[in-house]
Amino acid sequence: MEKIQGPFSNAAELALAARHEIIKMTSVAKASHVASALSVVDILSTLYAESANISPSKLDDPNRDIVILSKGHSASALYSVLALQGFFPIEWLADYCKNDAPLGGHVTFKGVPGVELSTGSLGHGLPYGLGIAMSRKKSRLSGRVFVVLSDGECDEGTIWESAMIANHHGLDNLVVIVDRNKIQSLTFTEDTLKLEPFADKWRAFGWETEEVPGHDYQALQKSLATQSAPKCIIADTTKGKGVDFMENSVLWHYKSPSTDDVTKAFEQLSGNY
């Protein structure tokens, strides 16, 4: 079967291709965070294939939409999606984490087209996105700012400081998408530091808040389409989504897939990528 090539205008096709690349690159690089990447990849695919006004030809456009992946440890997901969408050569993925390679284990802006902010320390992406959104609103520029957070990241105080500021300044050009996979570094989020009632918290901070199935492209797209205030989309996701032995397991926050794991994983990913 012929391999489907990017760029994709269909989130499902982009996500399927990206899942293959994520599993390959984390295995080859013996890198961590494969499950975090599989958790967030449908959100990123929806943004880059459908919802966000951003493409390689628009990188200098001051009205382009901005996507910030604040959970920088999911770099393999963002890099796969950007490569498949033509922001940089797909061959770069094979060198992920190698000496002097362009792509490393946490999202890095330097020399990587499409990356707006280097991340890896949690709680930085939202304040930064807030700054862009605030400046654009004052300058009457049209693009929106999408910041993708992990749920564990919402332990950080900067998230809630930002939530207050965005509401106070009426930033209806700012969208937070929380990858709510319910697992953080050492264990489940609710056993670490309770986030629930999570949606109520965002609502109490004045955000238009929706809880959406996080692997449902139509639902994500619909939620991303409109806003009249700062918007928080809590995307209900499964860590390790798409590969049964990686799903909902704390272990796969760190473990890197072996060659056997890759074969087994690929058998489970349907479709012709």
């Binding site: 902010l117 280097s118 930085h124 862009i132 400046s135 900067t158 500021i165």
Partner: protein, 305 residues
């Protein structure tokens, strides 16, 4: 110094709408005029320095020059990683502005004393650390900072610092400004503590010891040529209102070492003997060894050796 800074910034910001002044809810009575005259270029983000600094980075990334204003440790140590990652790493056009250098907030206590900030911010890549000595230097340096784009740290005193230059001076990045010239040695200082250096020089002069006194505002761009000639002349005393670890003296010693310059150097900085001691700026400087006596004793010791 802070009033001079804000006044100068306002003047420049009226000409350039890309200049933004951001505060973490401080500057009562100091920032009012700026806020009133240029509301679109003023942001009070609230009491949230970490978020404010990240916000400043993002804001600057849209083509603005963002001045982030607060007291001493708040826009520096409190949000260090945001400065490191969102400003320095991204090379965003942000100027961190702190007021209350050293013991300027003396009786307000140690939380308000800025004594480690130079060391910490000087360690960051891409960061230009600048410490003006008086209102005249502040004018030129503020103007300079409105026309450049690199991440910078402007460490200001508070209010009513005496002018040590007779008039406004031409600011040249990386250049040490000599106030008086003497053949027997040099006292280099950064910041409003220059008054102590000048006083010490006067006392030495009464004993027929003539020293040069020089202000070094550009802490992260040390004037190597000046140091070379100072080292040839005699002892060098470095005076700063900061702890010994990693401050202006360290910057000078590193520069001497990296350039293979041999010199007789002694540092006069805060001994930090009692962190919780209360008192005004002059009292705390004196208690912590930043005084004419330390300067003179250390200078004479080097002169004899």
């Amino acid at each position: 110094m802070r009033d001079t800074f804000v006044k100068t910034l306002l003047k420049e910001a009226k000409k350039d709408p890309n200049i933004i002044l951001m505060t973490g809810d401080l500057g009562f009575g100091v920032l009012d005029e700026f806020q009133k005259e240029l509301p679109a270029q003023f942001i009070n983000s609230g009491v949230n320095e970490q978020t404010m600094m990240g916000l400043a980075g993002g804001y600057a990334s849209t083509g603005k020059r963002v001045f982030v204003y607060s007291i001493g440790n708040f826009p520096t140590l409190r949000c260090l990683e945001q400065i490191r990652n969102d400003v320095c790493l991204m090379n965003n056009s942000v100027v961190v502005v702190s007021v209350g250098a050293g013991y300027a907030y003396g009786s307000q206590g140690y939380t308000h004393h800025a004594l480690e900030d130079i060391a910490v911010l000087r360690a960051l890549p891409n960061m230009d650390v600048i410490v003006p000595a008086d209102p005249h230097e502040t004018v030129g340096i503020t103007r300079l900072l409105t026309s450049t784009k690199n991440p910078s740290y402007l460490r200001l005193g508070k209010s009513n610092e005496p002018a040590i230059h007779e008039k406004e001076i031409e600011i040249e990045p990386g250049k040490i400004n000599e106030l008086s010239s003497g053949k027997d040695g040099t006292i280099i200082f950064s910041g409003s503590v220059g008054v102590v250096a000048l006083e010490a020089a006067k006392e030495l002069a009464s004993e027929a010891i003539r020293v040069s006194v020089a202000s070094m505002p550009f802490v992260s761009r040390v004037d190597v040529e000046y140091l070379k000639s100072a080292a040839n002349k005699g002892p060098i005393i470095v005076v700063e209102e900061h702890c010994y670890r990693g401050g202006v003296g360290s910057a000078i010693l590193e520069t001497l070492s990296m350039n293979g310059i041999t010199a007789q150097v002694a540092l006069v900085a805060s001994a930090q003997t009692n962190l919780s001691q209360i008192g005004d700026q002059e009292f705390l400087r004196n208690e912590n060894g930043i005084n004419t006596k330390s300067i003179i004793t250390k200078f004479k010791a080097l002169l004899v050796s």
